[in-house]
């Protein structure tokens, strides 16, 4: 039964990691627009040569979800 000494904390840690990942995603607004997330993946504006200026001047290639919170 000695195995429990590290298995139990490990199981809890995994669960807590999942919980914090969920709370973080919730706080960062990833559940605010579920339908939008599904269609935004089809958007081509992050491809090179899709008419966007070079990456150094354009913010279009960056993921938009992180910084632009309402």
């Amino acid at each position: 039964m000695n195995v429990l000494v590290y298995l139990l904390p490990l199981a809890l840690l995994l669960g807590l990691t999942g919980l914090f990942a969920f709370l973080w995603s919730l706080k960062s607004g990833q559940y605010d627009d579920l339908d939008g997330a599904a269609v935004r993946v089809l958007s081509d504006d992050d491809l090179p040569g899709s008419g966007a200026p070079p990456a150094s001047t354009s913010p279009a290639g960056l993921p938009r979800s992180g910084a632009s919170k309402p």
């Binding site: 039964m1 429990l4 139990l8 199981a11 809890l12 669960g15 807590l16 999942g18 919980l19 990942a21 969920f22 709370l23 919730l26 559940y31 605010d32 627009d33 579920l34 339908d35 939008g36 269609v39 935004r40 089809l42 958007s43 081509d44 504006d45 279009a60 938009r64 632009s68 309402p70």
Partner: protein, 743 residues
């Protein structure tokens, strides 16, 4: 020509000091729209952020000083999207509440899974070789997870139960709170006493299931409200306010203050209640009173918001601004109707009132019974607590909300936005449907009635002339134009328009203006408009057209055993043709708002439960007085606010869908309650006999919860006439949300 609009009341400051505004955007239907709108708005100078929410069709824009809000709106218009800003403060607090519920759900899900991991080990250990020390250790770890998790995730229930008890009521959250608290308390005690059974998993699982139900319920209502908010915002009601310098500025109606002077152009809808300061005109008050014939107005007369101005420009002094645009006697009737209506006791609350005392009494009786039978105090109390845990109303608390969520989702797709949560229950019991005529059975905009053998060329010419007139009747005529608008049209105030075409004088307007004779073969309820070209005249009728499916819907309602009636504020001559066309035997015409309430009271006195469908301001008190009420989305704002649901589109079909959906929902609610009761009938004797172990409790409680939820999903099944695609969506949506919550 773009006119400057003062949107400043919608602009707020964001945390980083930028000006920020939310807009409802219409016409978004594809993935490409997102990039097009966001990039298009970001291209404006000074715009820092533009983020479109595809689920709610809202755009949030933040900008520095260089851009003004109306440039954002006109940019969207240039891109082909109609947009209007709105102030969504109430919705923001709802969104916060939804996130809070989701956080609670996440915590409960995490705790439930980890405790179950330990509980399953204990259950299998109990029948094999677990040592008491290991079991106690597992129970203590469970307690360590369960107690903080329950303290956090149980808050929605604890708070609601506390509020209910403090105001002397009982709701379903009271037994939930008692059950969870007792289960946790007893489990800690049992663990301390090194007993084999603890109920941490049951308590947390209960919270998890209930939170999932509550979150879905909240989301379904929030989605409907967001859509209703978009529709309200996109009406984009504006008014020309005269500034101190006499220059009119276009402002949103929300910005109007009593005492402001507004300019109402011919053919424009009146934005606020007011008194005419100068000018004269005739005004179409069909949205206010149901009367379809225009009323002549002069200086000093009162005008109500929602009326359609006729041929003359008016200056109005606003008497009540923004959202209080309600006529006094309508307001008085409305207050009376609301006071008299009395609180409808929801099915779930009725069950809770019956259920809570019964359960607690059963627990007490079984404890006393075991004591009398010679058991010791500890054992007797354990039995009582087991009874409380097993009866904890998991299935019962989910029975009604689960059906409401699925049924609301189905009706949402049928074009029905539900305001009141208990509307489905009330609607299912309805036996009489009362329709208003103008704008409800008929379309809100008038249609053209041609006399037999009308000359097509003359009708086309009338249409071309109508393009230059802003008179309400001309709007019905304009689509018949057979060419571009005629140049050099002069408007003769109060009479009509005239022009010269191919050397011939042409006039469009009143019969007298054109010197036309009253025709014999036009419908009696129609408003008349005449055309004169040289010596020839043509008289056209403009009348209210029935909604395209009105006849089928009325027939279908009758086939379902409902009696259909009309209560209209319009003249008898206008009501009779509609009643005859639809085969409605019971109708009353020329009713004032008070008469409508009196008519509803008579129906109520006969023991009838009435569904009232109406759109006008004059219907608002009647809607509040009826058992259930529906209003088309084109109705007056006040009327929609008092309707239990609002329906979209030109068709009347959502009314039928509502009745059908409500009947299915009510049947499923009763079935679910029966399942919950049956579960208790089986489980409670087991608990009283002392056979309930934590394993049995966990199986019984989750089993019954899943059973009622699956049964509730049947409410989303399409009826005979619905599209087949209806069925999959809500089930998929619910499952998705649950998976995310459990992540």
């Amino acid at each position: 020509m773009a006119e400057a609009i003062d949107y400043s009341i919608f602009v707020a400051r964001s945390e980083d000091g930028l000006a920020q505004m939310s807009l409802a955007v219409d016409g978004i239907d594809c993935a490409a729209c997102i990039a097009e709108i966001e990039d298009g708005v970001k291209a404006l100078p000074g715009v820092v952020r533009a983020r479109l929410n595809y689920s709610t069709h809202r755009l949030t824009v933040a900008w520095r000083e260089e851009t003004s809000p109306d440039r954002v709106v006109s940019q969207l218009e240039a891109l082909g999207y109609r947009a209007h800003p709105f102030a969504g403060r109430a919705e923001e607090s709802e969104a916060r509440h939804a996130r809070w519920l989701l956080r609670c759900l996440g915590v409960a899900g995490f705790a439930a899974m980890n405790i179950m991991l330990l509980s399953v080990s204990v259950w299998s250990g109990n029948v094999t070789d677990i040592t008491p020390e290991t079991r106690d250790f597992f129970h203590w770890v469970s307690a360590l997870i369960a107690l903080p998790a329950a303290a956090y995730a149980g808050q929605p229930f604890f708070q609601s139960a506390f509020r209910a008890v403090r105001s002397g009521r009982l709701n379903m959250d009271v037994p939930i709170t008692i059950g969870v608290t007792l289960a946790l308390g007893m489990s800690v005690l049992e663990t301390a006493l090194s007993q084999p059974h603890a109920y941490f998993d049951s308590a947390i699982m209960l919270l998890f299931f209930l939170l999932a139900g509550r979150y879905l319920d909240h989301e379904a209502r929030r989605r409907t409200r967001a859509t209703a908010g978009n529709i309200a915002a996109l009406r984009g009601e504006m008014a020309h306010r005269l500034g101190a310098d006499g220059v009119p500025v276009l402002v949103p109606v929300q910005a109007l203050q009593p005492g402001d002077t507004i300019l109402v152009a011919p053919g424009e809808r009146v934005a606020a209640d007011g008194v005419i300061a100068s000018g004269q005109s005739s005004i179409d008050e069909s949205l206010v009173t149901g009367e379809t014939l225009p009323r002549a107005l002069k200086r000093g007369d009162a005008v109500y918001a929602g009326s359609l101005n006729g041929e003359g420009a008016l200056h109005l002094t606003v008497t009540a601004g923004g959202e209080n645009t309600l006529v006094d006697d309508v307001q008085r009737l409305l207050d009376g109707a609301l006071a008299e209506k009395g609180a409808y006791v929801r099915l779930a609350d009725r069950v809770a009132r019956l259920y809570a005392p019964m359960v607690h009494l059963t627990a007490l009786v079984s404890a006393i019974g075991w004591l009398l039978a010679g058991a010791d105090l500890h054992h007797a109390v354990m039995i009582a607590v087991a009874v409380l845990i097993i009866t904890c109303p998991c299935a019962l608390a989910l029975a009604v909300p689960a059906v409401q969520v699925t049924a609301t989702g189905r009706l949402f797709r049928a074009g029905l936005l539900i305001n009141a949560g208990d509307m489905l229950e009330r609607l299912a019991a309805v036996d009489t449907v009362v329709f208003d005529k103008t704008g409800t059975l008929t379309l809100p905009e008038p249609a053209l009635a041609l006399p037999r053998g009308a000359d097509r060329a003359l009708v086309g010419l009338a249409g071309r002339l109508a393009l230059s007139s802003r008179h309400p009747l001309a709007r019905a005529l304009a689509p018949r134009a057979d060419g571009p608008a005629i140049e050099g049209v002069t408007e003769v105030s109060g009479q009509g328009v005239e022009a010269v075409v191919d050397g011939e004088a042409v006039r469009l307007g009143s019969l007298a203006f054109c010197g036309a004779a009253l025709p014999a073969d036009l419908p009696s309820g129609a408003s008349l408009i005449a055309l004169r070209r040289g010596a020839r005249t043509l008289v056209l009728g403009v009348e209210q057209a029935l909604r395209p499916d009105a006849l089928e819907v009325v027939d279908a309602l009758k086939a379902r055993g409902l009696e259909v009636r009309i209560l209209s504020g319009d003249r008898e001559a206008a009501v009779v043709p509609v009643a005859q066309a639809l085969g409605i035997a019971h109708w009353e015409a020329g009713l004032k708002p008070a008469d409508k309430i009196a008519a509803l009271d008579r129906l109520k006195a006969d023991g009838r439960r009435v569904l009232m469908v109406g759109d006008g301001l004059n219907d608002a008190p009647a809607l509040a007085a009826a058992a259930v009420s529906l209003s088309p989305a084109t109705g007056a704002a006040v009327t929609q606010a008092h309707a239990d649901a609002v329906f979209l589109g030109r068709r009347l079909a959502p009314v039928l869908a509502a009745v059908d959906g409500a009947r299915v929902a009510a049947r499923l609610m009763r079935q679910n309650l029966a399942i919950a009761v049956l579960y208790n009938v089986i489980a409670v004797p087991l608990a009283i006999a002392g056979f309930v172990t934590p394993l049995v409790a966990a199986l019984a409680m989750s089993g019954s919860s899943i059973l009622v939820t699956v049964n509730a999903l049947r409410a989303a099944r399409p009826g005979r006439k619905d599209e087949a695609s209806d069925a999959a969506a809500p089930a998929g949506g619910d499952a998705r949300t649950l998976e995310e919550a459990a992540a």
